[in-house]
Subunit: 151 residues, 3 copies
């Protein structure tokens, strides 16, 4: 089964790839590594998940924001590689979680992205991960995800 | 001298490798690069160093936390590569230091990890480093270390 | 035109390369990737831009700090590769912006670095980017930049 078929099976339709918010690009390939910019939960230019975990955003909402942002990453990967089937391995995910003082469940929040990557790519989707609590994020985004892919 | 002999000489016994806290893994190798997940100062499922520098944690305790966490990283590297002698170079260390407002000695804290890597690997242990003050970290960990290794 | 000629044309003179603040080094090359340490806006051992965006530092000052720090990165790259013309691509920029509560214009601040890289390297200077709001940074630096280069 192709990855696009897997996405259909999971009832996932990828959004159009996001545009950069400044003088940079969203993906650069060097050798076998595809580096992605930090992605936020934006769609059609509108930030869909804003605010901090531990204040106005619940863990469940944070997980939804993580999944939503991971879909933006997949759209960027598809645009960069041509086909998602060219992904050999999701290598690395760094997740910055917009965190109020005392919030320490960044790992639970990021599972919203990691679980999606596992569902879409199977064993090739299992990655290393760093979960960090950020003081603030661009546009008050609830989450920012940075992916490195082997493809 | 093998790295294991060096560890003995330094009276260091590595802990068992940590298990991931979510749907990810602790090490992925692509080409000559071994990427590690963010590691925290956990042992047997218990977070051994919690809290923020500049509040309840001193610089000396932070350095001990950094060294302790670096040992967790070494255990993961050994499990991934089979032998620590397969490390050609410790390439990169990103250290997130759980920091209260006004704490700016992240570099001093991370020397606890960098000094250990130098003692164990000699010139091959000298790496690039990024020290960041994090607002919060998973499980209220005092520190989180992310390593990239050439091996 | 060589990159050094381009710098002259832009009236840019690179500073001497910075020295590490601890037991690490400022650049490590593995295969085609040159990894740099996190760089801060220091010159001759003095931090030139301190404090937080959204408190005592304006966006314009933050952009100047980003540009200033990017020049430090270029000096490190030149020292590591011998010539800036050996840069095939600026691959990746992670920018940690020292951010007070409620400051969300990290992307605008980082354009100070990204625009410079584009001006110096043209299309080879267009990189992926992650903008993060840091709670605190070493030495109260206003910004910290981490670059990865293909060279």
């Amino acid at each position: 089964m192709s990855i696009d078929q897997r996405l259909s099976q999971l009832s996932i339709e990828l959004p159009p790839p996001v545009q950069p918010l400044g003088s940079y690009c969203t993906a650069v390939q060097v050798g076998g590594l595809l580096f992605l910019s930090g992605h936020v939960p934006v769609r059609d230019g509108k930030m869909e998940y804003v605010g901090q975990l531990g204040r106005e955003v619940t863990v469940e909402q944070g997980q939804a924001a993580a999944r939503f942002t991971a879909l933006n990453c997949l759209a960027t990967i598809r645009a960069a590689l041509g086909f998602l089937d060219r992904v050999r391995r999701i290598v690395r995910l760094t997740g910055y979680v917009n965190s109020a003082a005392g919030f320490n469940q960044q790992a639970a929040v990021l599972n919203g992205a990691s679980d999606l990557l596992g569902a879409v790519f199977g064993e090739s989707g299992v990655h290393v991960r760093t979960a960090v609590g950020a003081a603030e994020l661009p546009g008050d985004a609830t989450i920012e995800l940075e992916l490195t892919v082997n493809g």
